[in-house]
Each structure stands twice: as structure tokens, then as C-alpha cells.
């Protein structure tokens, strides 16, 4: 079994227990070597915390660096949030190598190991339910993008006709301008509607293959990114033996609809642990 790994910080009152994930306490899990993981910046070694039939992957972190206020500041700093989110994800992913793992949300903290153990024991039936559900399944993210405008010059406003020296524009110029504008707007809306209907049909077909699905929020184009806009941001819980089928279906749907569809994964089933 496991024993607390040597810590590079004295286990005093200033340390709290950060829980990354909860696994079944199988032999494979309990003999796994997690000490090589970096974990949260500033924390002690990542270690296993067995509690009955469950084992948590935990780390002792300095309490004063993991307070509400510090996290609030951290969450509004893109670099910091990336650092901590990736650190969290790294440990969660490593935990899932040895069997199903229930990821806990970023910054789930307990006063000490006993409190963490008590929380595990208290929710044991829920953890077992979730573990059963996600065993041999992975989460796959799918984004459907809106197509690029077909022809750039068609979308753009044509160069103004007539010479600039005239005081009054030709009769009907204002109307023509408005019609052009309306045309651009209509084409844009039509494109979006088509993309949304493609998204719905993609989602319906992927749902048929998945054990569960969720729609995530769509994000606007990332500032400084490539400006692409997606109309579907969904995620699916898919049995491991159907993962290739999923990839093939996504490819086929992309080709058939001429739409850019992006598949990410396999993820530890982050999005499918909350409902049980």
C-alpha cells in the first residue's frame, strides 16, 4: 500500500490537502508512482491517499497560497490560470492511466487528509456510481465551425461609384447602398443558419454513438486567434471500443457537409462526473 511520500515542506498547520481525482483503490492504482508529477506550483510531492475502496490523488499545498482571494486574483490572470489548469490536468490525466478516475474541480481543498478521507467516505456511493459509468469510456470534444465567407470581394462593400466631387449622389444611390448592405447581412445570416443546422445534425448523429453528451458554451473567436467562429461546442462520453468509429464519423460528417469539424480527446471524462 502507500504511505505519504516524503515532503519537501514540513507537514505543519500551514498545509492543506488538494484533491485532484478519485480512483478505485485497485492494486494498479495503489502501486502507481505519482511522485514524478509536478502537481500544483509550490506544493509538496503528489501522493496517493487510500480511503477504504477508494484512493484519492492528493498533494499538500501551502494554505496561504490557496485561499479564496489568491484564487480570485489567479483566475483573472490568463497566464496563472493556464499554469494551474495545466498542472491540475496533468495530474488528473496521470491518475486516469491506471483505471477510471473521477476528476475533481480545480481547487478542491481540505483542511487535512482526514477531512479529505471523510469527504470521500461520505460520498463513496456517488464516486462508485460515477466510476462505474466512466470506466472504459473517454470524453471527446467536438466543435463545428461556421464556414468561411465564400468570396471575400462578394462580402465586401463595392467601391463607391461616381466621383467624389459631386455634391449630391446619383438618385437611387442610397437605396442601392442599403440593398447591398441588406444583401451582405442576409448572406451572413443564411450562412449562420446553415452552420447551425449542420451543427444540429452532427450533434444528433454523434449522440447516437455516445453513451452521454453535453453541450458546452460556445466561445467567440479567441482574441488574437485565427478568428474562426464555432456554432457547436459539444462533448461526448464514448466507449473506448467506439472511439475509432467516432473519429471516422466525424471525418465523414466533415466531408459530407463541407464543414470544419474539430475533434479533441480523449479527455478524462471531466464533463460527465457531475450528474450522478
Amino acid at each position: 500500500m502507500t504511505h505519504p511520500a516524503p515532503r519537501d515542506r514540513a507537514p505543519d498547520a500551514a498545509g492543506v490537502t488538494y484533491v485532484f481525482a478519485v480512483c478505485r483503490g485497485t492494486r494498479a492504482v495503489n502501486t502507481a508512482d505519482v511522485t514524478g508529477l509536478a502537481g500544483m506550483p509550490g506544493g509538496a510531492a503528489v501522493r496517493l491517499l487510500p480511503s477504504g475502496p477508494l484512493t484519492a490523488v492528493v498533494q499538500t499545498v501551502p494554505a496561504d497560497d490557496f485561499t479564496d482571494e489568491v484564487w480570485q486574483a489567479r483566475l483573472s490572470d490568463p497566464q496563472e490560470i493556464e499554469r494551474y489548469a495545466r498542472a491540475h490536468h496533468e495530474v488528473v490525466s496521470a491518475a486516469a492511466v491506471h483505471g477510471p478516475a473521477v476528476p475533481l474541480p480545480l481547487a478542491t481543498l481540505y483542511h487535512d487528509d482526514d477531512r479529505a478521507r471523510r469527504a470521500l467516505d461520505g460520498e463513496a456511493h456517488r464516486f462508485h456510481g460515477v466510476l462505474k459509468r466512466i470506466a472504459h469510456h473517454a470524453e471527446w470534444g467536438v466543435k463545428v465551425y461556421e464556414p468561411e465567407p465564400p468570396a471575400a470581394q462578394e462580402e465586401r462593400e463595392p467601391a463607391p461609384v461616381g466621383d467624389g466631387g459631386r455634391e449630391a449622389p446619383a438618385p437611387g444611390a442610397g437605396l442601392a447602398y442599403l440593398n447591398r448592405k441588406r444583401g451582405v447581412q442576409e448572406r451572413r445570416e443564411r450562412r449562420r443558419e446553415q452552420a447551425l443546422s449542420v451543427a444540429e445534425s452532427v450533434d444528433a448523429q454523434l449522440r447516437a454513438l455516445a453513451a452521454a453528451s453535453r453541450r458546452l458554451r460556445t466561445h467567440a473567436a479567441v482574441p488574437g486567434g485565427d478568428g474562426r467562429v464555432h456554432v457547436l461546442n459539444a462533448t461526448y462520453l464514448v466507449a473506448d471500443q467506439r472511439a475509432e468509429e467516432l473519429a471516422a464519423l466525424v471525418r465523414a460528417l466533415g466531408e459530407r457537409t463541407g464543414t470544419r469539424i474539430e475533434l479533441t480527446g480523449p479527455w478524462v471524462p471531466y464533463s460527465f462526473v457531475g450528474e450522478v
Binding site: 490536468h89 465567407p149 467567440a220
Partner: protein, 77 residues
């Protein structure tokens, strides 16, 4: 997660090579917006979606439920 699949670059059984290529936005969708399984003793507010939402708004500056940025395709009228 131990099968050999070569669909995406970051999928690898080696834990340490895992998170490198994961797009940040996709990661935050999962790490922050997941359902709360258990409540911790501390920093309860972090797990609250509203706080995270607010911070994400500040972070990504353009997160929206359905509507993309109006200038996303072709600039403002």
C-alpha cells in the same frame, strides 16, 4: 485511457507528455466548468460557477452563450 490511439497529438499513455498540446479554452471548459462532485472545506467559491464565469469573462473577454463577437466575420457594418 491506455489504448493506443493516434487521433490527436496529446493523446499518449505517457502521463507527462499529456497536457502540453491541449488547447487552453477546451481545457478550461472542462477543468472549471465541471459539475461539483464534492464540496471542499476551503475555497468553496472557486467551485461556484458564477465566480468562474465572471473571471472567464474577464479572461477570454468574449465568452458568450450563443452570440459570437459581432465583428467575427467581416467587421462591423
Amino acid at each position: 485511457m491506455d489504448a493506443e490511439r493516434a487521433v490527436v497529438p496529446w493523446d499518449s499513455p505517457e502521463p507527462l507528455s499529456g497536457p502540453i498540446g491541449v488547447p487552453l479554452v477546451d481545457l478550461l471548459d472542462r477543468v472549471l466548468a465541471t459539475g461539483v462532485v464534492v464540496s471542499g472545506d476551503l475555497v468553496i467559491a472557486i467551485a461556484d460557477v458564477p465566480l468562474v464565469r465572471v473571471s472567464l469573462h474577464a479572461l477570454l473577454s468574449s465568452v458568450s452563450e450563443r452570440v459570437p463577437a459581432p465583428w467575427a466575420d467581416g467587421g462591423p457594418l
